[in-house]
Symmetry: none
Subunit: 209 residues, 2 copies
């Protein structure tokens, strides 16, 4: 069975070589290949798999993902990009990408990835998979960074992340609100933040509490 492919990639040279490459295999057929999301969204035939760059002129690949999904939900979408930062990967995943492979990936692996998503799986370049898995493991290296927090400080930070006010914390711990404020100030200094909201964000994201 032949897999039909759509390609959105602004770098025309890379795009053409990719088309040439994929088309040289009998089981794969590039139905359309375009340089912008806009062109792709306007009147393009549905395909089995879309290869989508992230860094694009008009609309980024991440923003485009839900748009393609809306137009044709059963189309599989694989990000094909040079971006290998956690931010991009996470955004793509949250947007519902079926795959995330890097441009430096060998042609065979790209074709393999296409087949994998076509068959209902997901495809991740090893380096991307590594980063995805890392998102699950609590970064205990960072725990060290903040082990500088004293038990009392940790306790108070915990209460802050529960949204309890300074005064209520004081009451709960049977100490003066002023003391709570002092602890909070020390926490700020150690965490390098300047407000409660920043502290909460950091605490929750880095799993200090």
């Amino acid at each position: 069975m032949e897999i039909t492919i759509g390609l959105v990639e602004d770098h025309s040279e890379f795009r053409q070589s990719l088309v040439f490459l994929i088309s040289s295999f009998t089981d794969y057929q590039v139905v359309w290949s375009l340089g912008s999301v806009k062109e792709a969204l306007d009147n393009q035939d549905p395909v089995d798999v879309i290869l989508l760059d992230i860094n694009l002129p008009d609309i980024s690949g991440i923003e485009a993902l839900p748009l393609f999904r809306k137009k044709n939900p059963e189309q599989k979408i694989v990000m094909l990009t040079i971006q290998d930062d956690e931010e991009s990967i996470l955004n793509a995943i949250k947007a519902g990408a079926d795959g995330y492979i890097l441009k430096k990936t060998s042609p065979q692996k790209i074709l393999e990835a296409i087949r994998q998503v076509y068959e209902g799986g997901a495809a991740l370049t090893p380096m991307v998979a590594k980063q995805v898995l890392a998102m699950f493991t609590p970064p205990k290296a960072k725990a060290d960074t903040h082990s500088s927090l004293t038990p009392r400080e940790t306790e108070i930070l915990d209460l802050i992340t529960q949204g309890i006010t300074t005064v209520m914390i004081a009451e709960k711990l049977f100490i003066s609100p002023q003391t709570v404020r002092n602890h909070i100030k020390n926490i700020y200094e150690k965490l390098q933040v300047h407000s409660k909201s920043q502290a909460v964000a950091k605490a929750l994201k880095e799993r200090i509490v």
Copy 2:
């Protein structure tokens, strides 16, 4: 460069055929292959990659993972199992597995996975990768609960969780700080909170952002 491999698998038939298979390739060498975690932990030479079953007689592969890590942190560990439920996958990932492949995977793919983790990446069978990615996409039931937030409000809440100050948000969005404050007030009302820190806590815990 030859990759050394350790194998923990209680089903002796499958184990032996796997040893035979892997050893038939010059770049891979099975240094030891055993039927239980206990044997493997007692006096076994360090290898580059351990293939670890989950369903084992004495200690499960998941429980064994940190033990192997402790003995020899630089050893890569790939789960090789029939378990494809979310529970098992999530536990293995949290325990720090470098790969997760299913036993039905073709021999070539297994060898490929070994090489991928050996080279510092992570290896996931497409069906497993699919489940992992699915863990990120928020069960939209929750999204509905907070769909009361307008796009602008969501945007601002997102920026708040990044620890950005009101004034900086205003600058970033090219609107007046006062408008930002108004949006924030509306967010408070909808989320039933009374401060930025509470909003951040709620947003992060309930994955609104």
